[in-house]
Symmetry: C2
Subunit: 232 residues, 2 copies
Amino acid sequence: MKTLVIISHPNINESSSQQFLIQSFPQSEKITMHHLEGTYPDGQIDVKREQALLKEYDRILFQFPFYWYSSPPLLKHWFDEVLEEHFAFGYRGNKLHGKEFGLILVVGVGEKEYQTGGQEGFSISELTKPYQAIAKKIGMQYLKPLTIFQFPYMKEAQKMQLLIKYQQWVMMEKPDSLKAREVWIVNQLEETSHDTLDADESSFILDQAIEIIEDNRIELDELRMHIDNNDQ
Amino acid sequence: MKTLVIISHPNINESSSQQFLIQSFPQSEKITMHHLEGTYPDGQIDVKREQALLKEYDRILFQFPFYWYSSPPLLKHWFDEVLEEHFAFGYRGNKLHGKEFGLILVVGVGEKEYQTGGQEGFSISELTKPYQAIAKKIGMQYLKPLTIFQFPYMKEAQKMQLLIKYQQWVMMEKPDSLKAREVWIVNQLEETSHDTLDADESSFILDQAIEIIEDNRIELDELRMHIDNNDQ
């Protein structure tokens, strides 16, 4: 599976969250980062080049600050220009059919405010309806978004968890599944035996391993109970 | 009441619907049209000027083609730049409180497709959640939008109805009420006695007058029935 991460941010160098995500970006030939404002400083998008790029990937992720409940203007311009009729929809417009469409949203306000009665008043699921509608129109599968709330207030352990989640989101099929988490932790444990990690990092990875083994145990117990019941 | 209509369209001269709306624009000192792409061809928005403009008006309407379920990029840029903290929200950010916020959307697809099971799959109420959230955040009253579906397929009579609706939306308090429609038709009838109208226009205005008189009759009958019941 090949993943393209399209990033839109007008001042990416001044954003601590975007810098953190860029530094967390996994090194792999299967994953490409594409910053729109950096690629097109004059705002003139090369439509054919973008369309050719999209065709090469299976998962397209859009990473941006959720300013006023939507993307920065250049990403909106990108949608308006690149998702043409006969390419993305309409007659013979099936070039993106079956690919995955995901959002990685950076949000300044706390998660609990995004509900009826909260300060923002609407949920992320409600506010992202336009993106859900785009995915539907162009035949892409809309993934559960990765929403990062209040990055500047995160503690080190939370940032470490975010790093793992982000890498999984970018690299793995069904990133939220137990199986995906197992694969990730086994890789980490194998690498740990070769590298030197500092105390914080290694204790964090061990905690993750314990959590997965425990989750595994619960699932095995449930399966056994199910088999026992069927045998009676 | 003073109304500001902020229009965003990247190629306004080539849009038959936008040209129709501009030609329908009522002549009045209380109403101002403000085309963003025309005012800022280089995309550099004068934030202080825009903020000063907003303060002068009671109703702010945003008129744009609903490309990919959202505004053209320059209007998004306008939101990001103009609706600053301490102006539109946050500490002392009450400059727009109590004003009205309305959308005038031009949509290429038919109305019936905007529902679950339809081609677009989502309603206009769902897709405009980000704008509802903006209005809430900055303390403005969100009006029912005026949505114009498939303008190029409209017949003359439908365009005439749109013209009336548009003028009411821009000029009148509670534009959808029977009272507002009465005021409008009385003005038209008074003007008709002075002007020369062609057959189409005058028959249309007479039809509107008949409809309002009939609606009035129904409301009067209902009130009378209510009073009679109370007297028994």
